[in-house]
């Protein structure tokens, strides 16, 4: 059993214009992913688009893998045009995902925009715990998804830059407030957002000496650590986002 799989596209659900939920069923037994890990999907058998595209595993079960994909350019457009029943070629699970949530009442999940795709499965796996706090931010309410499902955790803070839903604030501001409200910095933060947000969250967590895990994106070719295309600079040298990441702990950075 290796990590190169063929899967049937069972369902393609348009969640909103430009956003798709793909349900895939691998043909053979497959290695089960963990939250925060990702797959490389080959958009087409032609050579244009050429490279595989990386996507976080959104949700998974014994039989299925789900991906939540925003249509951006050539590769995601090609994937978006695939019909249900198509066979897809993918590699995964890849990289290091999020650790298990040990203390839900002391854990804050922070998602910015499409970052929800990476942390959704962490939230879903802890939904009964109720203690978990989720901060979910986007530019406008049109860029917020699956609120009903996430709301089941009980402690959901929604924020939008334009105030169209929830608080008019950034996820970063909401996180800083949540930190200040607590008497302890015995907190764990799990975060995935766009590059600048990740960087700001990292700085914030360092400032408050809070433990955290942040998922980063970088351009990838191989996904398996061979091409050195996806590196991130850290105090202990260049690390490959596809292999040592995409989730890095704050003390590594």
């Amino acid at each position: 059993m290796n990590r190169h799989l063929v899967a049937t596209l069972k369902e393609k659900i348009q969640i909103r214009e430009g956003y798709l939920l793909l349900k895939l069923e691998p043909l053979n037994d497959f290695i089960k992913p963990g939250p925060g890990q990702f797959y490389l999907i080959r958009p087409s058998e032609s050579f244009d688009p050429l490279l595989r595209r990386p996507f976080s595993v959104f949700d998974f079960s014994e039989r299925d893998l789900e991906f939540f994909i925003q249509i951006k350019g050539k590769g995601t457009k090609t994937i978006g045009q695939l019909a249900a029943g198509t066979m897809l070629d993918l590699i995964g699970p890849l990289g290091r995902g999020f650790p298990p949530v040990n203390e839900p009442e002391n854990t804050v999940i922070v998602a910015g925009g499409m970052g929800i795709a990476s942390v959704y499965s962490v939230i879903k796996r802890n939904i009964e715990n109720r203690g978990l706090t989720v901060i979910y931010g986007a530019r406008t309410k049109e860029q917020l998804f699956f609120l009903e499902e996430i709301n089941a955790v009980g402690n959901l803070i929604v924020c939008t830059d334009d105030g169209s839903l929830g608080r008019k604030a950034t996820a970063l501001e909401a996180l800083e407030e949540a930190i200040k409200e607590r008497s302890t910095n015995q907190l764990y933060v799990f975060c995935c957002g766009p590059g600048p947000m990740n960087k700001a969250v990292l700085d914030l967590l360092k400032r408050y000496s809070i433990k955290g895990y942040i998922s980063f994106e970088e351009r990838m070719a191989c996904g398996v650590g061979a091409c050195l295309g996806c590196v991130k600079e850290t105090p202990s040298g260049m690390k490959r986002v596809c292999t040592e990441g995409p989730v890095f702990s704050v003390d590594e950075l």
Partner: protein
């Protein structure tokens, strides 16, 4: 059916190898590919000291190709010998180490350390010769001649391959120079310097501005260069550039390549190398070819007067 080929004294069970920098140090792909099935394994370029490489973004996709500006990031000689080579030695596949340096001295000291340990050295000459004002070894006849000659004198055991760059104004001439200096083989082509711009931000797509183009887009250029070189040297040519399938590999062999190397294709299909080996066998059966050597340089051509 016989797929065996030779580079100097070195026998390969088949002509398919990996292209430097696209297969890591072998271990990264061992889950997808039986490393024993490969003709040879060429590892990421090694320098004397570890290198950090360039800032990101280092990769950008272009039509039927990709740009990379990895900047020769590598673990350096010491860690290669202690951490990477022992794994590769477990397989019954020749290990070819691609090396790079800023000066002839750096190449020579790499060769001295690697010579007893590996089957072959591939000199990546697409590096600036710092002592000569940064002009690339790949384009400057004098630098290349001196480098290859001195490396030849240094190596006692390992086979010497020189990897040529498509930026040389006459790659066949450069290949002949390498042959005269005692190289056992030449490999070509390295990536083609290229650039892409994001028109919205007006910024280059790569942090390093310029990167190397690889993939199917460069295949016709590689085939042409191999064909021209085949007319001017007797030593084997290792052909590469955009080989995705067995058909592409056979095209290179017909143009004059004794071996082929698979690069960017590994990213697209991690089992590309073994599928290409199988595809070459299928082609040989279909065309009733007993020995792969019958195909080398087998393109049929004539120049017609108008």
């Amino acid at each position: 059916m016989n797929l065996e080929v030779k580079i100097g004294r070195l026998s390969l069970k088949n002509p398919v190898m990996t292209a430097s920098g696209t297969f890591g140090y072998g271990a990264e792909y061992s889950e997808f590919v039986d490393l024993n099935a490969l003709g040879a394994l060429v590892v990421k370029g090694i320098s004397l000291e570890p290198r950090q490489g360039n800032p990101t973004p280092r990769i950008y996709e272009t039509p039927c190709g990709m740009l990379n500006s990895i900047g020769l990031q590598n673990v350096g000689l010491r860690r290669f010998l202690s951490e990477k080579l022992p794994f590769l030695r477990k397989f019954n596949t020749p290990v070819i180490v691609n090396i790079l340096g800023d000066s002839i001295e750096e190449y020579l000291s790499l060769c001295q350390s690697l010579d007893p340990e590996v089957d072959a050295i591939e000199l990546n000459v697409s590096c600036p010769n710092v002592k000569k004002g940064g002009i690339s070894f790949a384009t400057d006849r004098e630098s290349l001649k001196e480098l290859v000659g001195k490396v030849r004198d240094t190596l006692k055991k390992a086979i010497l391959i020189v990897k040529l760059s498509p930026v040389a104004s006459n790659i066949a001439e450069m290949a002949r120079l390498c042959e005269q200096q005692g190289a056992d083989a030449v490999s070509m082509i390295n990536t083609i310097p290229a650039m892409a711009i994001d028109i919205e931000t007006r910024r280059p797509r790569l942090a390093n501005i310029i990167g190397g183009l690889s993939g199917p887009a460069i295949k016709p250029i590689g085939v042409r260069m191999v064909w021209q070189t085949y007319q001017s040297v007797k030593i084997p040519i290792i052909g590469m550039g955009g080989i995705m399938t067995a058909e592409d590999a056979i095209e290179y062999i017909l143009a004059g390549a004794t071996c082929v190397a698979v690069g960017t294709a590994n990213f697209v299909n991690p089992s590309a190398t073994v599928e290409i080996i199988q595809g070459i066998k299928d082609y040989m059966i279909r065309n009733k070819i007993e020995n792969i050597k019958e195909l080398i340089g087998g393109v049929v051509w004539e120049i017609r007067d108008r």
